[in-house]
Symmetry: C2
Subunit: 227 residues, 2 copies
DNA sequence: ACCTGAACACCGTTCAAGT
DNA sequence: ACCTGAACACCGTTCAAGT
């Protein structure tokens, strides 16, 4: 009956059981596509993003998306870049405490990815978009300003990248399956191959934030320019 | 004509353009399924592994797989665990040089994953199988034997895990798209937002093995028990 | 310039059967 | 105990059209 009152055609293809989105007035745009993709990814995860669902939610036909986008891969790139936008203050040049600055840059990056748990595991496999490049630029500028020699700069950046990515991908993935952790501890107990990590209760005790900060401190100790 | 000579039925479903595998004599088993899945993953990547292709290659019907396996996820778990098997020497207990031992454990782990570039990115999102648990046990035992206190053991293990995973996932993923790296450097050049990393040529110069070793040294410096 | 539906060649998995 | 084909409810994308 609602269909009778509205002007939208109700014959438009729609997935079984899903509430059909009314044909939207606003035209499609990369901006809208990206924002809606992020919504879908946040709710349904990587496998839950399909072109059909995305179009449905945008109130358009599936194939309309393909005028704006070459392939589904592009949608992932757009969503990922949107999520990585840096919204920090313009940052006074050459702050006194470079170490605190680096930690802030990396924790902001990490927190942003953990808000969208699909994003971290997507990042290494895709072309580097403008927003992640800008974060790396900030990082490089800070390290360089702190006195890290040009010859060591890329090594320093990639070391920190590895640390952030390893910690964040792991955290975002494990977080989704807390039940498995208890099962894993149980499996350790039933075997005799794993005495050490059973005793330390490795699968259960995982203070990801603490590990992130401690490892970061070690790396910064090592990377700091020796006067 | 070959079909005429053999006893296999040629009517069995087969994907267009693919050479049909003769119905195999050997029965299915988790062992065979896992080994064949690894082959497919090595050649076609994560997206290239489909139940239909896998069955084809095993010379069986698709649904036969489902007697051995509940879901496609299980196939990934089996393949991943197979690839992570540790084939090291039994290792003399309490070697003198714990640091060299840790480095060996981690480099062997990393090398094994890089031989199967799909494996690293799969590992964090799946339940920990027996073979990766055994590698973590070795690592934990070595660290513990070196004098790392029980209270610090899990932190040490996860720190090193993060380092290995970050470095390996990134390397395995970037490796597949060398062209994109040149394009990324070009994009830096065309913008004015990225002066520092353009100067350091970040997307091009990536000595992954060197970064891995240097970061590892910093972590081990920090984690080493203070006498 | 922007949007569309029909159709194609795939997917993973349920089900009811076969041996 | 082990294997099977048909069928279902999906996919991403090509194509030829519509405005």
């Amino acid at each position: 009956m609602a269909a009778k009152r509205s002007g939208t055609r109700s014959t438009r293809s729609q997935r079984a059981g899903s509430v059909p989105q009314p044909r939207s007035e606003t035209p499609l745009s990369l901006e809208r596509i990206a924002a809606t993709a992020v919504e879908l990814l946040d709710v349904h995860g990587v496998d839950g993003l399909t072109m059909r669902r995305l179009a449905d939610r945008l109130g358009s036909g599936v194939m309309s998306l393909y005028w704006h986008v070459d392939t589904k891969e592009d949608v992932f790139d757009l969503a990922l870049d949107m999520v990585l936008e840096y919204r920090g203050q313009p940052q006074a040049a050459g702050t006194q405490d470079w170490r605190a600055e680096v930690i802030h840059i990396l924790e902001d990056w990490r927190a942003q990815m953990l808000r969208h748990p699909w994003s971290a595991s997507l990042l290494p496999s895709r072309a580097l978009g403008p927003n992640i490049l800008y974060r790396l630029e900030l990082l490089g500028k800070t390290l360089s300003g702190a006195g890290v020699a040009d010859a060591n700069l890329n090594v320093a950046i990639w070391s920190l990248w590895n640390h952030v990515m390893g910690a964040t991908i792991t955290r975002a993935s494990f977080d989704l399956s807390n039940d498995d952790q208890a099962a894993a501890q149980q499996r350790l107990h039933l075997s005799e191959r794993y005495p050490t990590i059973e005793r330390s209760r490795l699968p259960l005790d995982n203070d990801w934030d603490g590990v992130f900060r401690k490892g970061l401190d070690f790396l910064l100790d090592g990377l700091a320019p020796k006067p």
